[in-house]
C-alpha cells in the first residue's frame, strides 16, 4: 500500500532537494564540472568519456541550431499565433504567418526546451558521478564499455529509442496540438495558410455546453447517449451470445466442432470493409432482403432498415453481434476448458440443471477472468468507427441534431465528419477531448471495481 502524501508537498520537496544537489555539485566540483554547467558534456569529455561527452555536446549544439534556424521564429509568435495576414498584391499571393505551423512548431519548441533542461540535469548528475568515482580512487569505464552497455545493461534504451520517438512524433505531438486547437478558433473560416486563427480561451467549451439553438449541447448529449447505449449493447450482447455459442459447440456429443468454429471465424478473416459494405447493401431499400420479402408478398413497401433511426440502431447492434460472436467464441472456448470438469460432475450428481451450472459455475469464472477484457471491449466499442461508418455513415440525418450529426453517429464518427467534411477543427478537438474524458472516467471507475484486479499478481 502506498503512503498517502500530498503530491504538491512532495513535489516541492523533490524540487528543493534537486536544486540543492545542483548547488553542491557546483560548489564541490572542479573547474571541469563547473564549465559543464555552460558547455554540456565538457566534464566527461575532458575526463576522457568521449561517447557521453560528445552526445551531451551534440544535443546542446542541435538545440541551439534548431532554436536559431527554426524554433524561435515560430515560438516568438506562439502567444498570438501570427499577426501578418496573407494578402494578394497584384494578383500574387503574399503569404503571411501560418498559424498552423506556429502552433505546431511552437509546441515542439516548448518540448525541446523542457528536454534540454532534463538533459542538462542529467549532464550535471553525470559530472557529479564521475567526480565521486575518481575521488574514491576508481577509474571511469572505457568508451568501448559505455557503448557496449547499450547492448546489455542499457539495452532498454536501444530497444525503446525508435518506438518512443515514433510515438512522440506521431501521437504525443499531434495530440498536444489538437488539445491546443480546442482553445483556438481554427475552423472553416480560419484555415491556414490563407487565414489566421488565434486563441479564444474556453469559448469552444462554452459552445459545447450551450443549450441554445446555436450551441452544441443538445446534439452532443444525444450523440453521447447513443454512444453509451451502443457500447453497452454491443459489448454485452456479443459477450453473452458468444459465450453461449462456445458452450454450444463445446457440448459433449456435438461433432464437427472444428467446422462450426471455422465457419464463424470467417467473419474475422474477411476484411470488414468487404463484409460490412456488402451487408449494408443487403439491407438497403433496393437490397436483397427487401426485394425478396416483397417478392414473396410478405411486405408491400421496403422496410426502412437504414432510414428509420431506431430501426437503424437495432440493425447496427444486431449486425455487430454477427461480428462480435466469433471473437468471443474463440476466447470463451479456450477459457471454458480451464474450468475443471469435476466441478460440473459434482454439480450434476447434486441434481443441478444445466442453467444452474452455467449460472453458478461458468458465469462467475468467466466474469472473473474476462473482467479486464470486457472493459477494453467496452472502451473499444465507444470508439468503434468501422461498424458504424461502413453500415450507415451515421445516417439517417435529422433536423433534431445540429452540425451534421446523424442519428446513428457515435462521438468518433461525428468527430471524423467534423474534421473531414466540415473542417470544424476546433469543435472536433473539443469532442475528441470529451471522448478521452468519457473513456478515462469509465476505465478508472470500472477498473477499480474488477475482482480480478485485486488479485492481479496471481496470474503472473
Amino acid at each position: 500500500m502506498e503512503k498517502k502524501t500530498n503530491p504538491v508537498v512532495s513535489g516541492v520537496k523533490f524540487l528543493g532537494n534537486d536544486l540543492r544537489e545542483i548547488g553542491t555539485t557546483f560548489k564541490e566540483g572542479d573547474w571541469k564540472t563547473r564549465l559543464s554547467y555552460l558547455i554540456m558534456g565538457f566534464g566527461p569529455l575532458s575526463r576522457g568519456q568521449l561517447v557521453k561527452g560528445l552526445s551531451y555536446l551534440l544535443m546542446e549544439v542541435l538545440f541551439f541550431v534548431y532554436m536559431v534556424c527554426f524554433g524561435w521564429k515560430y515560438f516568438s509568435k506562439f502567444t498570438t499565433l501570427g499577426t501578418v495576414e496573407t494578402t494578394k498584391q497584384h494578383r500574387v499571393t503574399v503569404y503571411g504567418d501560418n498559424s498552423f505551423l506556429i502552433l505546431l512548431f511552437g509546441l515542439l519548441t516548448i518540448i525541446a526546451v523542457l528536454a534540454l533542461i532534463f538533459l542538462w540535469r542529467l549532464n550535471v548528475a553525470e559530472n557529479r558521478k564521475e567526480e565521486l568515482l575518481l575521488k574514491s580512487g576508481k577509474t571511469l569505464p572505457s568508451n568501448k564499455k559505455v557503448l557496449g552497455s547499450l547492448l546489455d545493461a542499457n539495452f532498454d534504451k536501444t530497444l525503446l529509442a525508435l518506438p518512443v520517438t515514433g510515438v512522440f512524433v506521431f501521437t504525443v505531438l499531434p495530440i498536444l496540438f489538437m488539445i491546443c486547437v480546442a482553445f483556438t478558433n481554427y475552423d472553416a473560416n480560419h484555415q491556414s495558410p490563407t487565414n489566421l486563427f488565434t486563441w479564444v480561451g474556453l469559448d469552444n467549451f462554452a459552445n459545447l455546453l450551450n443549450f441554445g439553438s446555436s450551441g452544441f449541447a443538445l446534439t452532443f448529449f444525444k450523440v453521447l447517449g447513443w454512444t453509451l447505449v451502443w457500447a453497452l449493447f454491443a459489448t454485452f450482447t456479443s459477450y453473452f451470445l458468444g459465450m453461449a455459442v462456445a458452450i454450444l459447440i463445446n457440448k459433449k456429443g456435438i461433432r464437427f466442432k472444428k467446422l462450426w468454429r471455422t465457419i464463424l471465424v470467417m467473419t474475422i478473416a474477411v476484411p470488414q470493409f468487404v463484409s460490412l459494405l456488402y451487408i449494408s447493401k443487403m439491407f438497403a431499400a433496393d437490397g436483397l432482403v427487401n426485394s425478396y420479402l416483397m417478392k414473396w408478398g410478405w411486405i408491400r413497401t421496403a422496410i426502412p432498415f437504414w432510414t428509420d433511426a431506431n430501426l437503424a440502431r437495432v440493425m447496427i447492434i444486431l449486425i455487430n453481434i454477427w461480428i462480435g460472436i466469433p471473437y468471443m467464441m474463440l476466447i470463451a472456448t479456450g477459457l471454458l476448458m480451464n474450468i475443471p470438469e469435476d466441478m460440473y460432475e459434482s454439480a450434476r450428481i447434486d441434481g443441478a440443471s444445466p442453467f444452474a451450472m452455467f449460472r453458478y459455475i461458468t458465469l462467475p469464472y468467466m466474469l472473473f477472468v474476462t473482467g479486464p477484457f470486457l472493459l477494453t471491449q467496452f472502451t473499444g466499442n465507444l470508439n468503434n468507427f468501422n461498424v458504424i461508418y461502413l453500415l450507415t455513415q451515421g445516417k439517417p440525418q435529422s433536423i433534431a441534431l445540429s452540425d451534421n450529426a446523424g442519428q446513428t453517429d457515435l462521438l468518433v464518427t461525428w468527430l471524423y465528419k467534423m474534421t473531414v467534411n466540415d473542417t470544424n477543427y476546433k469543435m472536433a478537438a473539443v469532442i475528441g477531448i470529451m471522448v478521452f474524458i468519457v473513456t478515462a472516467v469509465i476505465s478508472l471507475v470500472v477498473y477499480g471495481m474488477l475482482p480480478s484486479v485485486k488479485s492481479e499478481e496471481d496470474f503472473q
Binding site: 515514433g166 464463424l264 443487403m282 477472468v369 468527430l415
Partner: protein, 293 residues
Amino acid sequence: MNNKSENFASMKRKQRIGNAFCYALLVLISVIWLFPFVGLLLQSFRSYATEYGGMVNYLVPKNFSLDNYRFLFTGETNFLRWYGNTVVIAIFVSIGQTIFVLCVSYALSRMRFKGRDFLMRFWLILGMFPGFLTLICLYFLLKQMGLTQAGAVPGLILVAVASSGMGYYVCKGYFDTLPMALDEAARLDGASRARIFFELTIPLAKPIIIYTALVAFMAPWCDFIMASYIAFGHDSSYNVAVAMQRWVFTNDYQGYFTRFCAGGVLVAVPVTLLFMFLQKYYVEGVTGGAVKG
C-alpha cells in the same frame, strides 16, 4: 434392473433430442454467418453487360460470367495498382510493427529501468484519445515530409509503424509467461541482454510473433479513413478499401455493385486463406490477450 435400463434409454433419447436441437441451431447459425459471403461470391458472377451491375431483386445470377473480374484486370481502372499498394503497405506494416512491438515488449517485460512505470501509464492514457482526433495534424506532418498524395504509400506505412509500440500488451503478456530463470541462467553464462533477446527470447516467441505480424498484416486491408485522407484525390496511391468503397457509396458509380463484389472476393480470398492457415496462432494470441488484459 429393468427400471434402470429404461431410465438409461430415456436419458439417451433425451440427449439425442437435445443434440438434434443443437445441430439445428448450429446449422442455422452457419447459414446466417455464411450468407453474406455466399451472396458476395454469387453476385460477383453477375454480368454487367447482359444483366445489370447494380442492385437487383434476385441472388443467383441468370448467367454466370467473369465480366466483373475481367473489368478489374483489363486496366480500365487502377485496380491492380490499388491491390499492389495494399499488399506493399500490409507487408511493410506487418514487418515494422512486429519489430517495434517485440522491442517494446522485451524492454518492458524483461528489464526494470527508470521511467518504466511512467512510460506504461503514459501510453495507456494516450491510448484513450480517439485515433481520428489527430488526422489533420498527421496529414500536415506527412505533407512536410512529402509523404501525402503521390507519396501516400510510404506515408501510410510510416504512420502505421511509428506509433505501433503502444500496442505491446498482448506480446508483453506472452513474454511475462516465459520463465525469468532462463534469462538469468543465460546472464550468468555471460550472455548480454541483446544476445538473450535475439537468441533466446525471439525463438521462444514464435507464436506471438506470428500473431502480431498477422494482425498487423490484416489491418491495412480495412484502412480507408487514414488512407483516403492522406492519398486524397490521387487515384494511383489509393488502396483497395479507399478505391472500392466509392463503388458502393457514390452515385456516380451506379451499376458498379457487382464489380465491388468481384473486387471484394479478390481481396477476401487471399486474406482469408492466410488467416485460416495461421488461425491457431491467432486464437492463442487473442485468448492470451483477453485473460491478461
